[in-house]
C-alpha cells in the first residue's frame, strides 16, 4: 500500500473505488446520507469520459443503470432506505435478467423517513428479502474507508462474475466521517472486467446458458448478437417461457449461483479469535466501537475477540459456526433491533450463548455502551 494518501469521507472513498473498478455510468437521485456519492460522481465521471445522470427518482435510477449495463458498461447507483425501498422492483428485475450492477445503500434511521441524519444498520434484512419472489442476493459492508474501497471494488467484481446486482450496505457514520485512505495502486486489487461472449456473429448466442464454469458471457446491446432481455421467466435466449422445466431451472440457477459460492463470496476480518472466550461479531460502523473495546480489553489481558463480517449476504453460516465453536459468549454488535444476530443464532451450535449488543435511538453505539452490555452478559451487573 505505497499509494497516495487521501483524507476524505467514506462516500468519497466509495466513489474513488468505483472509478478504480472501472465504473462508467452512474444514475442516481440525492438522498441523505448518500448524496456525496452522486455529487462526486457528477464531478469525477465526465472527467474520465464516463456519464452521470440525475434521474427523476430512484426507480428511474436503477432502471437507467440496468439499461446502461446492457450496453456493456460498469454501472452503479447509490441511495438510502427510502430510495432503496423504491428500488426493490428494479432490483428484482436485475436479479431475474442477470444484469451486473452495484447498488449502494448508505443506511440511516428507519423505518420510513425516520431519522435522515441518524446512523443505523436497519436495512440488512431488507437487502436480503425486499424483492418479491424467491431470489438470492450478494451484500457487502465495511467499517473503515480502506475497507469501503476494497469492498466497493469487490462489489463490482462479484457483479460481473456472477451477472447479478450487488448491494453495498454502508451507514451514515462511515459515509460521512472523514479519515485516511491510502489509494491502492493500479493492479493492487484485481479488477474483473465484463466477460463477453466469444461466439461469432451469425452463430447462435445464448445469453442465458451458463458455461461449464457457471459464468454467462454477455454481448453488448449494439453488438452482433440480438437477443431478448425480460423480467418474465425465460429460456436460454431470453425469451418468455412458462414451461415448468424452464421456470424451475431458471429459479434454481438464480439462487444456486450465489448459494453454492458462499465461501468464495465471503469477506471477513478477525481479531484475537484463537483464544477468545467472548467473541464479538459486528460489521460496518458498529465494528469500530467493537474493535475499540476489544483492543482495550486485550490490553488488560481479557480474552475478547472480534469477528468482523464484511459479507452479510449470502450469510457465512459455516464461517461463523467454526469461529464461534469454543466461545463462551457470542455478542453480536449492530445498530438495529437484532437482524444479523438471527443468522448468528442459526449458525452457531449453542444459540443460547448468543447475545445482542445494540442501540436503536439514532445514536452511534459507543465502546462504553458495549462495555456495559458485556458486563451484564457476563453476569457482572451494571
Amino acid at each position: 500500500m505505497s499509494g497516495i494518501v487521501r483524507f476524505l469521507q467514506g462516500n468519497e472513498a466509495c466513489v474513488e473505488a468505483a472509478l478504480y473498478a472501472g465504473v462508467q455510468f452512474y444514475a442516481g437521485y440525492p438522498i441523505t446520507p448518500s448524496t456525496e456519492i452522486a455529487e462526486q460522481m457528477s464531478y469525477r465521471l465526465p472527467r474520465q469520459g464516463g456519464k452521470f445522470i440525475q434521474m427523476e427518482d430512484e426507480i428511474a435510477s436503477i432502471c437507467a443503470i440496468i439499461g446502461a449495463s446492457l450496453t456493456g458498461h460498469k454501472v452503479m447507483t447509490a441511495t438510502s432506505g427510502p430510495g432503496f425501498s423504491l428500488m426493490q422492483e428494479g432490483l428484482g428485475y436485475a436479479i431475474m435478467a442477470e444484469i451486473p450492477c452495484v447498488i449502494v445503500d448508505v443506511q440511516r434511521g428507519g423505518p420510513s423517513t425516520g431519522l435522515p441524519t441518524g446512523p443505523s444498520q436497519g436495512d440488512v434484512y431488507q437487502a436480503r428479502w425486499g424483492v418479491h419472489g424467491d431470489h438470492a442476493i450478494i451484500a457487502l459492508t465495511a467499517s473503515s474507508h480502506q475497507d469501503v474501497f476494497e469492498m466497493t471494488v469487490h462489489a463490482f467484481n462479484m457483479a460481473e462474475t456472477y451477472r447479478t446486482p450487488v448491494i453495498l450496505l454502508f451507514d451514515e457514520v462511515i459515509g460521512h466521517m472523514r479519515e485516511k485512505l491510502v489509494m491502492p495502486e493500479a493492479g493492487e486489487i484485481p479488477v474483473v472486467g465484463r466477460l463477453r461472449t466469444s461466439v461469432k456473429a451469425g452463430v447462435d448466442y445464448h445469453p442465458y446458458l451458463p458455461r461449464e464454469d457457471g459464468r454467462l458471457p454477455m454481448s453488448d446491446f449494439g453488438g452482433e448478437h440480438r437477443y431478448n432481455v425480460t423480467g418474465l421467466f425465460h429460456d436460454m435466449w431470453g425469451f418468455p417461457s412458462d414451461d415448468p422445466r424452464v421456470v424451475h431451472g431458471l429459479l434454481r440457477h438464480l439462487v444456486d449461483k450465489i448459494r453454492n459460492n458462499v465461501e468464495v463470496l465471503t469477506r471477513h476480518k478477525e481479531y484475537y479469535l484463537d483464544d477468545a472466550q467472548t467473541i464479538l461479531i459486528s460489521y460496518g460502523c458498529s465494528a469500530r466501537s467493537a474493535l475499540h473495546v476489544v483492543e482495550n480489553r486485550r490490553a488488560r489481558g481479557e480474552r475478547l475477540g472480534l469477528l468482523e463480517l464484511q459479507s452479510l449476504w449470502p450469510f457465512p453460516y459455516d464461517l461463523v459456526e467454526e469461529k464461534c465453536a469454543n466461545a463462551r459468549h457470542i455478542v453480536v454488535v449492530e445498530m438495529n433491533m437484532g437482524q444479523i444476530v438471527r443468522c448468528v443464532k442459526r449458525a452457531v451450535r449453542h444459540p443460547n450463548r448468543v447475545a445482542l449488543a445494540n442501540r436503536i435511538d439514532g445514536q452511534f453505539i459507543t465502546p462504553t455502551d458495549i462495555r456495559n452490555i458485556l458486563r451484564l452478559i457476563q453476569g457482572k451487573g451494571v
Binding site: 465526465p46 445522470i53 427523476e56 428511474a60 440496468i66 446492457l70 449494439g222 440480438r226 431478448n228
Partner: protein, 269 residues
C-alpha cells in the same frame, strides 16, 4: 431486397395478440419504417414495458429489452445515454406510458433525449383485461368504471409538448402509410419524439363500449380523425387531428453531455 420477415422473429408467430388487435399493425409499420430507412438491425434497441403492446419487443429482430410496467423510458435513457450511437425505440401502451409511467414520460421529454416513444393508445388496459386508462376519456365503459368513467383523459400531444418533446405526432392504425411516414421522421429526429397511434383493442375496449368488431373500430379512426388544421376540423371540432404537431430543433441531451465531458476534460468549450 429484404422483406418484413427479415426483421421479425418468425418462430414466435402467429403472435399472441387477439384477432384484429391494432398492435400488429403498429408492429408492421415500425418494421416497414426501419426497412425503408435501411437502418441496421444491430443499431436498433427496442425497449418496452409491460402490456399487450409491450410484447412488440419480443417480435422484432433487434436488440430487445422487455422491462417493467411504466419504466421503459427510464431503462431506455440508460441505454441511450451510455451508447448514443444506438437508435432507441420505445413502444408503449397508454397505461404503461401515461399512468404508472407518466413521470418517466415527461422527464424523458424534458431532457429531449433522442428516443422515440410510440404510445399505442387503445384507451384501455388490455393485458389485465379491460380497466380504464388515463386516455380512456369521460364516460367510457371499463371493468373498473362500471358506472361510466369520470376520469378526464390526457391529451398526449399537449402533455408531450408542454413537457418539452421536440417532435410530437399522432396517427391511427387506419392510416398505415402516414404511420410509416411519421415513424421515419421520428426515428431520424435528433431529440425526444412522441408518436401517439390510435389503435384498437376489440377484445376489451371494443366489446365493452359496443363499437363492433376490429374493422368497425378501424373505420371509426377513418371517420373521426382529420389532418391537422383541415377544413373538416373547422366545421366539426369533435374530429381528432392527425399529423406532426411539433417539430423543433433544440440541443439533444446526449450531445449536450458530450459538451459536459469536453468541459470536464478541458477539451474544447
Amino acid at each position: 431486397m429484404p422483406t418484413v420477415k427479415d426483421y421479425i422473429r418468425e418462430r414466435f408467430f402467429p403472435h399472441i395478440w387477439c384477432p384484429g388487435c391494432g398492435h400488429g399493425t403498429v408492429l408492421k409499420s415500425l418494421i416497414t419504417a426501419v426497412m425503408e430507412l435501411e437502418l441496421s438491425k444491430n443499431d436498433i434497441v427496442v425497449v418496452s414495458g409491460i402490456g399487450c403492446s409491450s410484447r412488440i419487443s419480443g417480435y422484432v429482430d433487434f436488440h430487445s429489452l422487455h422491462t417493467l410496467l411504466g419504466r421503459a423510458l427510464a431503462f431506455a435513457t440508460g441505454v441511450k445515454l451510455s451508447k448514443p450511437e444506438l437508435k432507441v425505440i420505445v413502444p408503449m401502451g397508454d397505461g404503461d406510458a401515461l399512468s404508472i409511467g407518466g413521470n418517466h414520460f415527461i422527464h424523458a421529454a424534458r431532457r429531449n433525449i433522442a428516443m422515440t416513444a410510440i404510445v399505442m393508445n387503445n384507451r384501455i388496459y388490455g393485458m389485465t383485461g379491460g380497466q380504464f386508462s388515463p386516455l380512456s376519456g369521460l364516460g367510457v365503459a371499463a371493468t373498473t368504471s362500471p358506472y361510466g368513467n369520470i376520469d378526464y383523459g390526457f391529451d398526449v400531444v399537449e402533455l408531450a409538448r408542454a413537457a418539452g418533446a421536440s417532435f410530437v405526432a399522432r396517427t391511427t392504425t387506419y392510416h398505415a402509410l402516414q404511420m410509416i411516414e411519421i415513424f421515419k421522421q421520428a426515428f431520424m429526429h435528433k431529440g425526444f419524439t412522441v408518436v401517439e397511434v390510435l389503435t384498437q383493442c376489440p377484445t376489451y375496449f371494443g366489446r365493452k363500449n359496443k363499437l363492433g368488431g376490429a374493422a368497425d373500430m378501424v373505420e371509426w379512426f377513418k371517420k373521426n380523425t382529420t389532418p391537422i388544421g383541415s377544413e373538416a376540423k373547422q366545421k366539426d371540432a369533435s374530429l381528432i387531428e392527425r399529423g406532426v404537431f411539433v417539430k423543433v430543433e433544440k440541443p439533444e441531451y446526449c450531445s449536450e453531455y458530450d459538451k459536459v465531458i469536453a468541459r470536464a476534460t478541458g477539451r474544447g468549450a
